[in-house]
């Protein structure tokens, strides 16, 4: 995995985590407007970056669009990546 790909992957990991953290907060504070705005904004950033990452480096999940042949099995497994 190139340095460039790894940096992009780490950015994606960070956004994914931020979405999770905000959602956990919102589960017990559903009326917090600021947290909801942060959540929605982060989700959009995450989705855009994920689409860009998958287009460049291949699928991260079975619901990602794949080139021929099926690319899901070829992308790096998380425990084998040198972070």
């Amino acid at each position: 995995m190139t340095r460039e790909q790894l940096e992009m992957l780490k950015e994606l990991m960070a956004l994914d985590f931020y979405v999770l953290e905000l959602s956990l907060f919102l589960n017990t504070h559903p009326n917090n407007r600021q947290a909801l705005e942060d959540h929605n904004m982060t989700v959009r950033k995450y989705q855009d970056l994920k689409m860009d990452y998958v287009r460049r480096y291949g699928p991260l999940c079975i619901g990602c669009v794949s080139e021929y042949p099926w690319q899901y099995i070829e992308t790096a497994w998380p425990w084998e990546i040198e972070y």
């Binding site: 990991m13 994914d16 999770l20 956990l24 017990t28 790096a76 425990w79 972070y83």
Partner: protein, 193 residues
């Protein structure tokens, strides 16, 4: 349902092989206060818990615990990878190798297999949420012991992240307990005893 993403929740970087540390980390892979216990506990407790906030909290934290279980698996894999059998034997993992080869197995740091008796699931939401508050504190304490046992900056960084998540989950379960208490007092006032 669940969907798998080929990403870790937090990066795992180890500076060198360390089989003794891998052995200790099994505490959180398959021990009483492990991520496996946490995930199975919360995801099992969801069905009869009152309030949508509580159902969401158990579902999301339970799911996050499985992501943490994968982080622990990655740590153990990276600390073990590429080492000869004799090294496993020297580190006290000979018995593990005899039964599993180098692959992982959900047991604790002493090799005791994971069991569902580590967890409880009650209909009573007050009992359930107090169990979860205790579980988060026990896991936090275990991470502190593991951090004390490690001298690898990468391992310590990942363990510190996991320790912090226990603190956040404790907070969220505390808020959930307040919500459920309010619900029981105001709307669900009738109790079955």
């Amino acid at each position: 349902m669940w969907n798998y993403e080929k990403i870790l929740q937090y990066p795992v970087k180890v500076s060198k092989n360390d089989l003794e540390m891998a052995k200790y980390l099994y505490a959180q892979y398959g021990g009483p206060d492990s991520e496996l216990s946490a995930g199975i506990r919360y995801l099992t407790q969801r069905y009869f818990i009152p309030t949508d906030e509580a159902k969401a909290t158990l579902t999301e934290i339970g799911t996050e615990e499985l992501a943490h279980w994968e982080i622990l698996g990655t740590l153990i894999y990276k600390l073990t990878e590429g080492l000869p059998v004799q090294a496993l034997r020297d580190a006290g993992l000979g018995a593990h190798y005899a039964q599993h080869g180098k692959n992982l197995y959900p047991h604790d740091a002493a090799g005791v297999p994971w069991t569902a008796s580590y967890i409880q699931s009650h209909e009573d939401p007050i009992a359930t949420l107090h169990e979860n508050l205790a579980a988060e504190q026990k896991a936090r304490a275990t991470y502190e012991y593991l951090i004390n046992l490690s001298n690898d900056a990468g391992v310590i960084d990942t363990l510190s992240f996991l320790r912090e998540r226990e603190v956040v989950h404790f907070q969220r379960f505390g808020e959930t307990l307040d919500i459920v208490r309010d619900y029981l007092e105001n709307e669900g006032g009738r109790r079955d005893y």
